[in-house]
Each structure stands twice: as C-alpha cells, then as structure tokens.
Amino acid sequence: MSLDLLAYGAFFLTMALTYAIMCLGLNIQWGQTGLFNVGIAAFVAIGAYVSAVLTTPETPDRLGGFDLPIAVGWLGAVLVAGLAAWLVGALTIRLRSDYLAIATFGVAVSVQLCVLNIQPLTGGAFGIGFIPRPFGGLAASPLAFSLANLALTAVVVLGLYLALEHLAKSPWGRVLRAIREDEIAAQALGKRPIRFRLQAFAIGGAIMGLAGAVQGHFIGFIAPDNYLPILTFQVWAMLIVGGSGNNRGAILGAILVWGLWALTAAAVSAFVPPEQQARASSFQIVAIGVGLCLILLLRPRGIIGEGRSPIAGRIKPKSEE
C-alpha cells in the first residue's frame, strides 16, 4: 500500500515537473521579457508530436515512426518548437504587443487543427501510442520505474533551472532586463531590442517543446485532447501563482497549481455524482479564471515569488518637455 502511494507520489511529482518545464519556458517569455503567449499548448504539442514521430517504431498506417533514440526525439522537439516560436515572433514582435498574443492564439488553433487532421503523420484524433518510455526496462517494477523517471525529470528541471539562472545573469540576460526596464535607453546603447526579444521568445518556445516531449515520453501516448487551450490556462495560472520573473517561483507554482488541480479533480470524481461531474469541472475552470483576475488585481507580483515582474502597474511618464 505505502509502496503504491510512493509510486503514485512519484508519478504525480513527475507530471508536475513536466509542467514546471513549460512554466520555465513561459517565464523567459513573459516573466523576463514581457511577451504574452496565448499558444503555450501549441508549442508543447509540437514538441510532443515531433519527438513521438522521431522515436516510435515504424508504423504501417502512419508516416514515420523513425525508431530513433529518445534523446534525438527531445532534441528534435526543442529545435522544431523553437523554430515555430521564432517564426511567430519574427512575424509579430515588431508590431503592437497584443498582436503577438493574437498570433499565438491563432497558432494554438492551427496546431490543434493540424494534429487532428494530418492523420498520416499524427494519427488524427487517436493520437500516437507506443511512445518509448525512458527506463522502459524497469516497467515490471512500477516503483523503480516511477522513481527513475522522477529522477530523470528532476535532473532535466534542475539543469534547465541552472542554465536559465546562468543565462539571466549573463550579459545576454542583463541586456534583456535593460530592454524591459527602459527600451529607449537600451536602444541608445546600441542594443536591438527586437532581436533580443525574438531570441527570448524562441528559447521559451523551445523549452515548451521540450516539456511536451518529456511529458509525451513519460505517459507513453499523446492525443490532440492533451493540448487544448485549458493547458495554456493552467501553465499561466502556475506562473502567476509562482510569481513571474522568478524561476524558483515558476517551478513551485507548477507543483502547487498542479497539486490543487489534481486534488480538486480527484475530489470531483469522488464526491460529485457522475451526471454532475462535467458541471463541477466547468466550475473548477471558472475558479481558475476568477483566480487569475484576482491575482492580477490584488497580488500582481504573484503569491509565492518575489521576482521582479513587468506586471506591477506603473504609469510611464509621458514625454516631459
């Protein structure tokens, strides 16, 4: 019993950590650069599908299944998702800040359509199964399997965390911060804000792609339903609870919000009569939406984190004389 619980705990934490990766990706886009991405689900989906196609064994009714090592799948996920983010960014970053939001929203809709409709590549509504799982050899012992996966995901998160912290302190990170604080001054110093923003957006997208790949390989199958707009909302809630701009907050927020989500979902399925369950889960989403607005109104710097965020409202002085 307690071993089962431990295995479940490891499973839960591993899932939470895959969300933490997405959250870290969002943090570099929003928390550190102030770019609003409404299409997180799209970049996660791209990563998941690319890695799945690269690593699954050859399948007769589907294009590919290239049977490559998992590491190659992850790498492919990072590259393709990063490229997609770079393209979206290149299209919109020089325009109004909310055009990027609208464009990423469009990407989310379009990627969802693609995975549903390009059946020969993505398996359509049924998705892709038999994705190789890391430490698949340990599957006979659920506990060892879960712990090994938890350890691997934790290593990925830790590595990313360290890399991102390093990046934030590097000259590149300092320029990014300077641009956020005072774009005109940064421009005067000869830094091209658009290029730095674009790089940050692409890196964030690549990290989201990695998250999708890690999650897909951990669960073993993927389907379009995993990448609905609700995923985007969840990741946003995680980052806002954790406090944007703060990598540790992003990780903590992911674990906390995923915990709350799983807990309330479990409570709904345990205590709410089946015919009312759909209703109860929509109420769960109303709560997230209202919560998001309340945090924006009351705790613009997040609940846990104390990271500096672009959220804090400040009237920009208009040109004085």
Partner: protein, 256 residues
C-alpha cells in the same frame, strides 16, 4: 502689480506639487498668482517642470499636493474634461489637434460642451477670426501645416470664450516667421481681455509680447518680474547656460 492685489486672480496655485510618480515630483511647491488680463510667460531650462506645471493645472498631469484656484473657485480635483466648461482652456505642445478628424469636426467636437443652439454661431465666429481654417473646413486636420495646426488648436481652445487660455510651447517646431504670426495672434487674443499663460523656450520672442515672466528651475519658481526688465537681466543668461545646474538638467532631460 500692487493695484491688482485686491481683485480675484484669474488663476492661482498654492504649494502645487505634481509629477508622474508621487515619490518623484517634478513640480515642487509652486505659488503663482495671475491677474486677469495678464500675458504671463513661464520660462526655465529643459526639465525644469514648466510643462508638467501647466499640465497639472489643466488636469492632465497628476497633482500630489497644493491647490489650483480659477477665478476664486478651487479646481484642483476637477477632472480635465470639466475644466474647459469652467473657463480654463489648454493647448498642449504636441498632438494638439485631432488629425483623423476634419477641421470642422475638430471645432464641432470642442463646441459640444456648449448649449446646442449657440454652437453654429460660435463655430462661425471662429472661422471669421481664423479665415485660414474656413478655406476648406472638410479637410482632415492632419493635412494642415504647422502654423495652421497651431491656429486650429487655439481656435478649438477658444470655442467657449474662456477667460483664461494656457499654451504649452506654441512655437515649438515652427519657423521664425510663423512663430511671430502665432505670437501676434496671442497678443490679439490677450487684447480682448483673455488672460494668457504661455510656456516658452523661445525666450526673447516670448518676453517681447509678455507682460510678466516667471522662471522655473527644478520645479520651483526661481525668479519673477516684469517681462521687459527681464530681457536684459543677466539672470537669464545664467539660468539658460545652466551654470550650477547642468548635471541636473541632463539627468531630467533623459527621462523618457
């Protein structure tokens, strides 16, 4: 000025503190009294807070302390859009007309604060006063030249026949010939009894038409006196060459 002390000032500020961030005021305690019929010019080096000062009076820059009274009425907390009906007209420095509206629409918009029956007459009166605007009233205001834009901005402000008009650097970006035209126009307006307050960088030209001048430095009044006397005063050169204040000016000038 002693004879005017007993009359109610057209405008008065007391210990006015204003700026975009409460902990970093740009205007730091200004006491100013303007008598009816004066043509007052507000001078000062870059970043002295001249513009913020008049914007605060007009209600477009936040006030953090002190008071503004207009002909004896406290208007400190009156929102910007109600100041025009109280008799205070303001012409901002840039973007002071609606470029996407026609000339006529600019005037119609401004006339909307008046009772309906008098609007057409007021607009017609302004066309008589500014014949340039009457040539093609349906033209988009954005197509006007710099001087014509300034005319339209002033015409817009005059629509309610205000006792007081405040202009923020009306000469900015205009050629010397147009500047003198604009200043002549201001003198004519002043001659009809309207009190005029003018923020200017164009010191010499402004002092020639003004009756009185105040000099703002670092958000406070440093000097005030009759305009003609100030023209030859060495204090002007000292302030504008920035001796002793150069560091501060450059810092404030860098503000976005």
């Amino acid at each position: 000025m002693t004879g005017l002390v007993t009359t109610t000032p057209a405008l008065e500020t007391r210990a006015l503190v204003a700026g975009y961030e409460p902990d970093l005021p740009i205007v730091r305690g200004v006491d100013l009294s303007v008598a009816p019929g004066e043509l007052l010019v507000v001078l000062g080096p870059n970043g002295a807070g001249k513009s913020t000062f008049v914007k605060a009076i007009a209600g477009v820059a936040p006030i953090h302390g002190g008071s503004v009274t207009l002909a004896g009425r406290d208007i400190t907390d009156v929102p910007a859009h109600r100041k025009i009906t109280q008799g205070l007209a303001f012409v901002p420095q840039t973007e002071n007309i609606f470029a996407t509206l026609s000339i006529h629409e600019n005037l119609q918009l401004a006339a909307a604060v008046l009772p309906k029956p008098v609007r057409p007459d007021r607009i017609r009166a302004l066309y008589d006063r500014f014949p340039d605007l009457a040539i093609a009233p349906s033209r988009l205001a954005g197509a006007l030249s710099g001087g014509q834009r300034q005319m339209l901005a002033v015409a817009r402000a005059l629509i309610v026949d205000p006792p007081l008009i405040i202009l923020d650097e009306p000469s900015a970006g205009l050629s010397p010939k147009i500047v003198s035209e604009v200043f002549e126009m201001l003198q004519r307006i002043n001659a009809t009894g309207v009190t005029v307050i003018l923020v200017e960088q164009n010191v010499k030209a402004a002092l020639k038409i003004a009756s009185r001048a105040v000099i703002l430095v670092e958000g406070q009044i440093r000097h005030e006196g009759a305009a003609t006397a100030l023209l030859d005063d060495p204090i002007l050169a000292k302030l504008y060459l920035g001796t002793g204040h150069a560091r501060n000016h450059s810092r404030e000038a860098e503000l976005p």
